[in-house]
Symmetry: C2
Subunit: 340 residues, 2 copies
């Protein structure tokens, strides 16, 4: 599984970080999912290999502007590229009212269907299978000023290998049957004996699982989901000190809170994002403060996301930040948009 950050700033864009968006797909898949779509997400996508035509679904964590104001423009641009495939839009209820209101007042007609999937409730709930054919998706309710959710993406199609011992026990000689059994097909041998693929395949490896959470001041709400996940992507808007000064009103997590919850869940990879712009300027506060606070509470693999960072989760559950970043090394210089 792999994912790329398209925005990592909280509330407003800065010169280096855009507001929230993350692209994700399973290994080798053409279709991809977008989690949140802050203003300017389509501009970010222009600098990556992700194609709007291959976008299968958008999962909106919550209906605050820095997580959804890029959606109308992204839909309009997909329309101008003559997209015809339906697009799944999953999120809390105001998502549909927001988009339908914008479309009605700005004359936006689309040549493709929008398939709205409303997420709600308080417990983790599975989304319909058609949403992402190669990924099972579940939504977990979080705690924020408006309904906010975390999305759990779990691999659905796991490759399996033939087990030599089981083949021998079943008396299946090397031949054409092996290929069909490997593909999961049951066969009838030349001597008339039926063999079920499930009986000769090795047990599947664990399905990889990635959680991408929305804004949330109670990261412990994800404890159950995170226990079986390899990766947790979660906000760390402030340090504890700044959170105390601001007070609980905005309902965000500190780096320490998020790190402590990840440690309690035993999730092996933690990626922090959604950083307050105050840490991105020159001054007394720095990204290093957030990192230091998180490291003190969490001993796993810790990352602080940057815009355009690409991550790959290998089959052993180890998350890697890719250095060879296609999002930054395209044919045009990365800063071309801001220049003539």
């Amino acid at each position: 599984m792999e994912f790329q950050f398209l925005g990592t700033s909280a509330g407003t864009p800065t010169r280096r970080r855009n507001v929230s968006a993350l692209a994700l797909r399973s290994e080798g898949a053409r279709h991809w999912a977008l989690v949140d779509c802050g203003e300017g997400t389509q501009h970010r996508i222009l600098r990556t290999p992700w194609s709007l035509n291959d976008l299968r679904a958008v999962f909106v964590t919550h209906l605050h502007g820095d997580h959804c104001y890029g959606l109308p423009g992204l839909l309009a641009s997909a329309a101008m590229m003559n997209r015809t495939a339906p697009l799944v839009l999953a999120g809390p209820a105001p998502l549909r009212a927001f988009l339908e209101g914008v479309m009605a007042t700005t004359g936006l007609g689309l040549p493709y269907a929008l398939d709205f999937v409303e997420v709600g409730g308080t417990a983790a709930s599975a989304l319909p299978d058609h949403v992402m054919p190669d990924l099972a998706v579940a939504a977990t309710a979080l705690s924020h000023r408006v309904p906010s959710f975390g999305y759990t993406f779990t691999e659905r199609r796991l490759e399996r290998k033939l087990d030599p011992a089981r083949l021998q026990a079943a008396g299946v000689a090397r031949g054409a049957a092996w290929g069909r059994l490997q593909r999961g097909e049951d066969v009838v041998l030349p001597d008339g004996r039926p063999v079920r693929a499930d009986d000769v395949l090795a047990p599947p490896r664990k399905a990889r699982r990635v959680i991408v959470a929305g804004d949330n001041d109670r990261p412990e709400l994800l404890l159950e989901e995170a226990r079986s996940a390899e990766v947790l992507v979660h906000e760390a808007t402030y340090t504890d000190e700044v959170l105390c000064r601001i007070g609980p009103g905005p309902q965000h997590s500190s780096a320490r809170m998020t790190a402590a919850a990840a440690a309690a869940a035993g999730v092996p990879n933690l990626v922090l994002t959604h950083f307050s712009p105050r840490y991105q300027q020159h001054g007394a506060l720095a990204m290093a403060d957030l990192e230091e606070e998180a490291r003190a509470a969490y001993g796993g693999r810790l990352f602080l996301a940057n815009d355009f960072d690409r991550f790959q989760l290998d089959r052993d559950g180890v998350l890697h930040r890719l250095e060879d970043d296609a999002g930054k090394a395209g044919p045009a210089p990365a800063g071309a948009q801001a220049q003539r």
Copy 2:
């Protein structure tokens, strides 16, 4: 008067051009006006000296997404910067419904008032004086798929000089009275004679006038306004050839159509913008085609706008494209946003 393009692409952003927005102010003014606000306008503003706190009014030409989808995010960011001054939002009727719908569905509250000014009708109509204290603004109805307008900005406060011949004729000797008369105050001379400032000041120079038009397939609708203007900023979405191939449905102007109307009006400076992305890619079509077509029909000072281009209109009515571009030469490299 000066203005800066923040977006010059039609319909969708490209790597080099964002969708429509233009910042404008009168000479020496702190407050400025924004004409249109496509998605990503606030990101562009981050790379210029324009401050959201000094933004006085936004004039929306029409309610298509590439001209207004940046507005909710810009309002939200101004709120996070603790703006308190009211903001004028002028545009056709759906503007208010669009914004109020977005605000209601996304929980956007603002710590400052929005002062909606609805533009409508078919003839050029003056907007209330309070909209821009230093600029008279009028809206002219254009022809597009939805109601679209061109905004005429005219200098309101003109400096005047004392006329030596008139001073002599009125018998006003050099002294303190000169300063007060220069400032427009009427005086009573030591010998008891009253002197009216208007009688000894030279006639004011012509007020500079700039028209910024929205999408429009009948540029001749601006003929009357353009006759007394120094600058016309108008779309030139395609060349004639491409417009013929696409047909009149989208209701845009070709470079030739715009140039011919500008020539008929005798406007001395013409700035083309809103270029179809097809001219921005490598291929058979190029920006040079648009320029060539316009030059063939217009003999005045012609410019094809680029994002971040700054223009200054001098007191003689000559428009200059500024080379020393503060929008591109800030302390951070122009491409910093797209890099780590």
